[in-house]
């Protein structure tokens, strides 16, 4: 079943990406990237490595984190439920099968697309800083999220109010998606909503780059908002998780600005990169 879902996701993304590259990025940038991609890759290598390391740690932690979490974590399901009660049942009044289908596909496909497309789009920019910031922000989201997941043990609304949510619970209507999400997350990892924080991060970047990609900006905002709402509509996250996701996104966007370009490779590795750094303004920042 996992293979089936993965194929579906790959297929949808495989169709969406080339179309969006043509629509949002344009030929001119593609041509320039073709000429410069080696240099850009070299500049971006450290931050790509950092992101990969964070993702790898995330992956490994999936095995060890539950036991650690059991020892140091705080149980907050009841607290969340006490604070916001049946807030997310608000969506019950607008519930329709069409809306459920929309939010389910946004949650799985829209989200994946939202995360992957900016990586390509910002790689196409001659100024590599945006790309590096985006990847740094992703890494921060995952890293901080992982720490919070270990410290806070909480089940989402679907685990507390199954009967009220049954018509639109993602895993009741589309049980196959649970094979995908359990690859990524344990069911006690709800605070904060990483779906929300990563989507909001992408929307924030889309806003910063709207002069370069004017058409992408509204799409990103609508998609990001849909993802955030979908997590509540589908009963996966509490309103509190989504709020925390927005705060996390803001923090990661700000931090990425502070961190990226702070350490220069030429400082770290001597003049081996000298020739390269001539062409790259960011490496001279400290000078």
């Amino acid at each position: 079943m996992l293979a089936e879902v993965l194929t579906q996701v790959a297929l949808v993304i495989g169709i969406l990406l080339p179309i969006s590259v043509l629509v949002f990025i344009g030929r001119e940038r593609l041509v320039r990237t073709r000429a410069e991609w080696r240099d850009r890759l070299r500049t971006n290598a450290p931050v790509i490595a950092v992101l990969l390391v964070v993702l790898l740690i995330n992956r490994v932690a999936r095995q060890t984190a539950p036991e650690l979490s059991r020892k140091v974590g705080v149980h907050l399901t009841a607290t969340f439920y006490n604070v916001e009660g049946e807030f997310i049942l608000l969506f019950k009044s607008v519930e329709t099968p069409e809306l459920t289908a929309y939010f389910a596909s946004v949650y799985v496909f829209g989200y994946t697309f939202l995360l992957i497309f900016p990586v390509i789009a910002y790689f196409m920019l001659s100024d590599t800083r945006t790309f590096r910031r985006l990847l740094a922000a992703y890494a921060l989201n995952y890293a901080i999220g992982l720490v919070l997941y270990i410290l806070i043990i909480a089940y989402g609304p679907r685990n507390v109010m199954p009967a009220e949510l049954t018509e639109r619970m993602l895993y009741d209507t589309n049980p196959q998606y649970q094979y995908l999400t359990r690859e990524v997350n344990a069911n006690t990892n709800v605070f904060p909503s990483l779906h929300t924080s990563l989507s909001a991060t992408v929307a924030a970047f889309a806003s910063m780059t709207r002069s370069a990609y004017p058409k992408w900006f509204p799409i990103a905002v609508v998609l990001a908002a849909s993802v955030a709402i979908s997590t509540m509509y589908l009963g996966i996250h509490w309103g509190i998780d989504v709020a925390a996701g927005l705060v996390l996104a803001a923090a990661c966007v700000v931090l990425s600005d502070k961190l990226v370009g702070r350490w220069s490779l030429s400082d770290l590795f001597g003049d081996r990169f000298e020739g390269l750094s001539d062409r790259l303004p960011r490496l001279r920042r400290e000078e």
Binding site: R158, T166, Y179, N187
Partner: protein, 590 residues
Amino acid sequence: MNGGPAAPNRTGPSDGGPSISRRSALAAAAGLTVSTSGCIRQVRDILMPNNIQQLSLTITTLPADSDRQSIRLSRELADVFETVGINVSFDIRSPVDFHRTVLYDHEFDVWIAEHPGGTDPDFLYEALHSVYTDESGWQNPFGYTNLTVDDSLETQRQLEGEKRREAVTDVLEQVAIEQPFVPICIPDQHRAVRTDRFDWDERALATPQGYLGVDPAPDVSTLRATHTDSRPTSNLNPLAVDYRGEDPFVDLLYDSPATETADGEIEPWFARSWEWDAGTIDVRLRTDCPFHDGEPMTAEDVAFTYRFLANMRLDDAEAAAPAPRYRGLVEAVDSVEVVHRDRVELRIDAGRPVGERALLVPILPAHVWRERAGGANGPGGATIAQETAEAVATENVPPIGSGPFQFAERTEGEGLTLERFDGHFTLRSDVDLPAPTVDELTVRVDPPGAAAQRVVDDTADVTTSPLEANVVAGVDQSGSTRVLESPSWSFYCLGFNARDAPFSNPRFRRVIAQLIDKEWLVDEVFRGHARPVATPVTEEWVPESLEWNGTDPETPFLGTDGEVDEAAVESAFETAGFRYDERGRLRVRQ
């Protein structure tokens, strides 16, 4: 102020001093409530003018992913409790965590979940005898202590036939009056199976034997199970209470001297036969049976198992650490003697029906488990925390048993593969017992919502976890998929922590029991796939006085159709000695 037990005059809402959390109030009160002499009570009243306050109780239960019915029962009951002036909060924990919290740490007010129950009512001895209040495991997690009930529980163990039935009736009636836990219902056990690949025995599926002796269709060599609980992929230790749920896998990996049928009959297994003679069981074992690692399984291993389960520290008799599982069964065994390589003699302190149940424990290979003795000794000396013993804490992978299936591989959280153990005695031509009929038994962990569909899609042959009540009716039976119903004896219940006030008070517990509309909950939460019960035993043991007659004969619901009659509840609590304030909050001394 005379410091009378009820002290009703100070219960108004106007006493707005600092509120004390329940735990700290409990901790502070613990030292003082030992003696209830008037003098001390007065001192306490001065020190803690606020110790009578609205009753807050926490319901400890499982998330919907693990047990949809438990969380639904909990929320329905929380609504009722709130209506009658009780402040309710939840503590929702994963199965492993839930069992550690309730069975090891005893950190709960009330819990709502499924109790494993038993085919024989003797499981109540383990569940309620007061000598077990300080132990870890399914032995008296309630902390319930009552010498009269202890006495009745002991009496039924010694008897047989009609006399035992009468003694059991005594136990059940006393327990129904006392309500140390409130049995709610016994859920039906439904499983989706593929009938084109295997010939299933509906009744046998209630026990691990149901997966043996199943005739496969030609060319079928793998039995594909779908399971909704991932715990067996993490841990295969027969003694780990926190990891053992309703899975048959560990029982298929280990042999026991005898097995139990769905009807509660004890039948020979590794024991060829036995003779019962006035408190002694003379057991003849099968010969030339190896463990999965090739070592021979002999009477020494059987004797070791009983000694080990009675004390996981073996030689250290001063600080015995009994195993947290099989406690009630092993309790009956006074001593074990190896008479011969294939013969052991058990001295039993119980009548035959209970005594023979001692033969149901899994046989642990001495050469593996002897090394696991101890570990309970912390650096600071002896501790009686059984759960920290190496033998309980180990995940036991790969497991070395002697059962009809042996461990092949596992992927944590995803699946488990067992393969037929060719050295098993059931495969011998002269043994007429259900044997493994497939080369391989594969287990895949699936979400509860997807399990039945995998059988319909022909990617699985059986849902080893019973189906959730809400999916039973929706299973597509047009093809070769069928839904089978097996006998069941596990029951949903609300368990009290009788160590703490007010749950220690049977009058209080009885009123709580009357807030539970079992009949309505069975319709609402279980969609009718359960039967409401007043006593937690199989139908053949239910005495006439406790038969379900449309309502609970002992603690009838105070209301109709799930709606409580608030006035009736208020007066019931007041009759029981509790008070309400003018804002309708139930006030108790906690």
